[in-house]
């Protein structure tokens, strides 16, 4: 066993997913298979590979600091279910 149900539960919590007991055991089983297959990556020597050395040609193009307003606020929030005076309403957030 590479992965335990408790770990699957912890991951679900991190991912904000509520899984049934059935789903937990299903994913545990499946991840076990999948991770066993993924074990192949451990067999390569990647010691010398530095992920923080980049191809100098691949640089982000930057944006000019020039403001524009989207404008159509109604359209922008057309998918929002609870809008009140321009604000998005959600259940009380306890800090």
């Amino acid at each position: 066993m590479k992965i335990k149900p408790e770990e699957v539960k912890y991951i679900a919590k991190l991912a904000k997913l509520n899984l049934s007991e059935n789903e937990i055991s299903q994913y545990t089983r499946e991840f076990d298979d999948i991770l066993e297959h993924f074990a192949v990556i451990a067999s390569y020597d990647v010691e010398k590979v530095d992920v923080n050395v980049f191809d100098e040609k691949q640089t982000s193009s930057l944006r000019e600091d020039d403001p524009t307003l989207f404008g159509d606020q109604e359209k922008l929030y057309q998918n929002t279910k609870t809008l009140k005076n321009g604000l998005i309403q959600v259940p009380k957030i306890l800090e």
């Binding site: 991190l14 904000k16 992920v51 923080n52 980049f54 100098e56 691949q58 640089t59 982000s60 193009s61 930057l62 944006r63 000019e64 600091d65 020039d66 403001p67 524009t68 307003l69 989207f70 606020q73 922008l76 929030y77 009140k84 005076n85 321009g86 604000l87 998005i88 309403q89 959600v90 259940p91 009380k92 957030i93 800090e95």
Partner: protein, 478 residues
Amino acid sequence: MNWETIIGLEVHVELDTKTKIFCNCPTTFGSPPNRNTCPVCLGLPGTLPVLNEAVVEMAVKAGLALNCEIQRTNKMDRKNYFYPDLPKAYQISQYDLPICTGGYVEIASGEEVKRVRVHRIHIEEDAGKLLHDEEDPVSFIDYNRVGVPLIEIVSEADMRSPEEAVAYLKAVRSILQYAGVSDCRMEQGSLRCDGNISVRPYGQDHFNAKVELKNINSFKELQKALEKEEKRQLELYSFNEGEKVVQETRRWDAAKGRTISMRTKEDAHDYRYFPEPDLKPVYIEEELINKMERQLPELPDEKSRRFLKTYGLTPKEVEILVGEMALSQFYEEVVESGADPKASANWILGDFLRSMKEMELTAEEQPLKAEDLAKLIELIEKGTISGTAGREVFDEMMETGKPPEKIIQEKGLKQISGQDELQAIIEKVIAENPASVEDFKSGKKQAIGFLMGQVMKASKGQANPQVAKSMLEETLID
């Protein structure tokens, strides 16, 4: 046992760009709710971030101003956590390749100058604002602030008292204001600060558990929060309950004047940082660094030295003037308008700051024109009005913004220095107060005080006291 307090600060500063960090939305403060938003900063499906070049420039500038090394290869990372003020459920930040490393800030510690090291500065995006309903169990989200560019300045744990922490924060604030990268208004949240504090017995090498303090909104609260937390930890250690000092985040409750536990390390977030795949690395050319270096104006340290040398002010005066960029600029404008440097400093540090405080104005809102204040100082110096009248004129200037001459004229505050006019008043006072004149002549010199009072009263306060006094003396002796 003697204890030592260890403090480090994380300072978040909103950069003074026109647009947000990854989209073209304006960063204007105080817009209607959610007005400054677009598909990108709202994190709508399919949208992508594009980095604002002004953010890179200002971060470099901030780094140079804080004596940092500028990292030539930059990469953005995602910090993943769910919170409704974060529309993408991750914050684009920098993890292992921050834009600036290894700087320092000099602060006064007692008589000495102390260096507080800056560990790193990184670029990141701000989150939205949550508002809570007073009555109903609901909250509201305003995303106007989402994506406003921030730099996070992380100090080393070099501060040894709340005073030093405040001095460091003040120094950082004024340096960044001078560098022109932020207005650093704590009251508007454009400068925010978290404090890390722990205590340990002198001589102990390792650090004890540190506590992170959040929600500190002013210098005064930083001082208070650190003092309170320092006291709380010391008490626990001294009552042998040191195990109760745990690594945790505590919120400063300004109203209650205490810190409250938010979360302990056990349920800390697992942020799952990884390189932002929507952005390629950003390389900072030497050319840009040089350009920013050239653009850096005179910074506070340099300005302090110059003020001390040029204007003959005391170190304390210079500290206050230079500490606030707007104040130092105002001061120099007043002096450049022709006013005496020392008198200008007296007015600005005295009446001006006092009435700014009373009127609850920020430096930007102050109504005075430098040339008007210079004029007022000159009028008092020349004796056109008295010092007392000057105060009255000044108050009116603060109220209305009117030029001093106009106020003097309207209120009739001009001093009477004319010989003929004064002589007439003096003659009248002498005639009406023979007893006091007799007293003076028989050697009771203090009687002149009473007579001067009568002269001032008769002139409705407008007599120039110096001129009037010498004329009165001359008349009495004759």
